[in-house]
Point group: C2
Chain length 320, copies 2
């Protein structure tokens, strides 16, 4: 079992140690995946946009793909907004804009739920925020949001990682009670460097070797070096769960647990690939001090000072 | 149309100029794809292992995938031989062994049809050499052979290219009368960095910018910088033909024309991927002096001094 290491915030213990100088190791997940229950009439299980079968897929695999739940018109609006933000001269030199390694091509723009009315509205859409609340069984807030833009011809790979491992160590997210939604603005073809996920990987936690360097995020958002699982652990996860390439149409949502192992290959196809990425966390799971001896990452990467629960609108049941 | 530039070999003209200081340009293929005819009873069209529909696919798309034409036992024998060659201490420091960029992992071993009895026999197998002869309408010889080995976790991408462009410029292959066969020794999954091909791309020739540096092959076998088509030309080819990922079982053959545009993404999956790659050229298309002002590449990359036509054995008709 994990040893419990005191966090710098009093009375918050480290249930998921990583990068603390120990060797890499694999342990059981200590938290539920779905925090609501079909058997509890007071829970949000049966009161949200996700169908029971989508919830079961998510619980078993650590992800579910909701194909084409945004209309072509909605996707076109998001794409226009993405282009406006990419072309915004005021943003170009901002820390919130991350470029591809070796070039100045924009790879990500952070905090788009604050930068843009269009994406602020998207982040509170019932189809997204309602699903987050349905699974996490709590009010939710946005831990992070960003636009991802993988250019044609020379889109770089992103190696396997669990987002939770980084959010826990570098941001101080205490428990696994958060999830990500990737809203696809372009088609994800098998040959186009789609998101790759390892089904079932969310049920184990891989503590990683090494220690986190100062200002690690400046480098890790381009290419992660620390917080990378070992070859042996990855081979074991894949032997048990296989790999799924999240191929889907524009306007789909890839919804995945904070601890699901994922990554993507490079891409040489001429097609660009873009998505809006929003991380919802339970309000009860708000971040504390990082579980490493480093300063917290900036507010645009990790919401800390400006945590606001989302008022989830009501809407008709969606069959996911 | 192409201007004809005299080659250093008297009376061989350059029908496919590239890297000669001109801008990149796109021109029509000047040669047949299939050199035999269904209507000519004397041709090898109807006298080989490929079915008429496989020949038609190959002619139209520039490639055809022949799934599982080698047995599991044959594949196991090829895999054993591959491991023996990879472990051969006498080969480790040879120029014939190419490592991954940035590591010492073996990526390719050249000239395996001479190094190994197992692969010599494979290279003259009716299913391969018979198919080459059937399509090229001539006696065939091996222009190049190699083992490719893409390791797990960190297999690098290979950018789009036409093999013919390089074989023409750097080896002096006069015409498009050659083809490649990749015999897969492992499964090619969509997420596993499989060969990507652009259907129909073999019917156009993309002359490339730049000039060939001295000893370019030492670098280009790891990462190609010269002989790379322009973004605009690639986008046009893909707009017309799309992209096919050559997913297939072990023991399959991906048979593609020398001018078909192809490449592969990087791979982060734990599965390694290996294949035996054999290039057959028509005896009438034997190499002359390179179509650039450089010394010819070594014999292990381009057969020049030791050209020997293959005596193709007879075998029962194969339904491809």
């Amino acid at each position: 079992m994990n040893s419990l290491v005191a966090n710098t915030t009093p009375d918050v213990e480290d249930y998921y140690p990583s990068r603390n100088g120990s060797a890499s190791r694999c342990s059981e997940r200590l938290d539920p995946v779905v925090y609501t229950s079909r058997d509890d009439p007071d829970s949000t299980y049966s009161n949200g946009p996700l169908s029971p079968s989508s919830i079961e897929d998510y619980e078993r695999n650590g992800f579910v793909i909701l194909d084409s739940i945004f209309s072509d018109a909605e996707v076109a609006r998001f794409q226009r907004e993405l282009e406006l933000l990419r072309a915004d001269p005021g943003l170009g030199s901002s820390d919130m804009v991350i470029s591809e390694p070796g070039t100045n091509d924009v790879r990500s723009i952070f905090r788009v739920h604050e930068l843009s009315d269009v994406f602020r509205k998207l982040s509170t859409d019932y189809r997204l925020a309602g699903a987050a609340q349905q699974l996490l069984g709590d009010q939710v807030y946005i831990h992070q949001s960003r636009l991802n833009y993988k250019p044609g011809f020379r889109g770089k790979e992103f190696y396997w990682h669990s987002d939770f491992e980084t959010w826990h160590v570098e941001d101080g997210m205490p428990r696994m009670r958060a999830l990500s939604m990737s809203v696809t603005l372009t088609a994800n073809y098998a040959f186009n460097g789609p998101l790759l996920l390892i089904p079932g990987s969310h049920k184990l936690y891989l503590g990683c070797e090494g220690r986190t360097p100062e200002n690690h995020f400046r480098q890790s958002l381009k290419k992660q070096v620390y917080g990378v699982p070992s070859d042996e652990a990855l081979a074991q996860l894949v032997a048990e769960g296989g790999i799924v390439a999240a191929t889907c149409n524009p306007g789909s949502v890839i919804l995945f647990d904070c601890n699901t192992m994922h990554g993507s290959n490079s891409k040489i196809s001429p097609f660009l690939r873009s998505n809006v990425f929003i991380v919802y966390s339970a309000l009860s799971n708000r971040v504390v001090a990082p579980f490493c001896e480093r300063e917290p990452r900036p507010e645009y990467i990790c919401t800390r000072e400006s945590i606001r629960p989302i008022s989830v609108p009501k809407a008709a049941m969606m069959q996911g």
